[in-house]
């Protein structure tokens, strides 16, 4: 079975979803990401959904789960590139994805992850003083 590739990008992981995923593929992605966050001690997860024409409740829950799991593992998840039609449909569907941070594109998403990391490092430094 094909698995969705996960790339390492500095201290973050980058996933680009380009296919219409069937449920098994989505579940496999969740598992793979969790394993890799731990393996690489990743501090951020970037999920690029700019190629997705449809996000239904299953995918929505997958994104929610990934965000929740990564939070426990001390990593930030940012979902980027949601298409307008998808956003409108998700709102109508009632999926608010409140646990998920979003950004317009990969660049902004990465910047978001890095700035939050440097913020938390500064906080840690303050604490030590």
């Amino acid at each position: 079975m094909d698995r969705i590739p996960i790339l390492k990008f500095g201290n973050a992981l980058l996933v680009t979803i380009q296919v219409d995923m069937h449920d098994r593929l989505a579940t496999a992605l969740e598992e793979d990401l969790t394993a890799k966050i731990v393996a690489h001690n990743a501090r951020g997860v970037l999920i690029d959904i700019s190629a997705l024409e449809i996000v239904d409740s299953f995918i929505g829950r997958m994104l929610d789960n990934i965000a929740a799991v990564s939070r426990i593992l001390d990593a930030d998840t940012v979902v980027v590139g949601m298409r307008p039609a998808v956003a409108i449909t998700l709102v109508e569907l009632g999926l608010s994805l409140t646990g998920v941070k979003t950004a317009l594109n990969v660049e902004r998403g990465m910047a978001m992850i890095q700035s939050r990391l440097s913020e938390s490092e500064a906080d840690d430094a303050d604490d030590k003083d």
């Binding site: 219409d20 995923m21 069937h22 449920d23 449809i54 239904d56 998808v86 449909t89 569907l93 009632g94």
Partner: protein, 134 residues
């Protein structure tokens, strides 16, 4: 009402949910629905297909291009011989608040469609029909 095209798909495996999405998309394009409307009905079809699989024990969907009074539309009918839904009204409400399980699929599909109807009998099965008009 007159139907100009009908296609049927069996929903037995999770791969079939993808096929239902793809079929709905191509017929939605044929009807000439706007991109947002296409997205809405394809998403609704995914929700209902998954319900049919997860809660109905599998079933089938009939996708039809329909015409009424000069308007073109897309109608999807999901059929299963599963356990049926005890309280349909509750099922439509539940998901909206809990965001989990079957309810979100039904309520969501209803909100995403112009027309929605459901028939369910305990022990006999469920039939859900949605439509979107151009």
């Amino acid at each position: 009402m007159p139907t100009t095209k009908t296609e049927r798909l069996e929903i037995r495996l999770s791969d079939d949910v993808v096929r239902v999405r793809q079929l709905t998309r191509s017929l939605a394009v044929e009807v000439g629905l706007s991109l947002v409307d296409q997205t809405k009905i394809v998403t609704a079809s995914s929700e209902l297909a998954r319900n049919t699989l997860d809660y109905g024990g599998g079933g089938q969907v009939t996708v039809e291009i329909v015409e009424q009074g000069g308007r073109r539309g897309l109608r999807l009918t999901f059929d299963d011989k599963g356990p049926g839904i005890a309280d349909v009204e509750q099922a439509l409400k539940d998901g909206f608040t809990s965001g989990k399980g079957m309810g979100l699929g039904l309520g969501g599909a209803k909100r995403l469609s112009n027309e929605f109807s459901i028939e369910s009998k305990l022990g006999e099965g469920t039939k859900v029909s949605i439509a979107r008009w151009k």
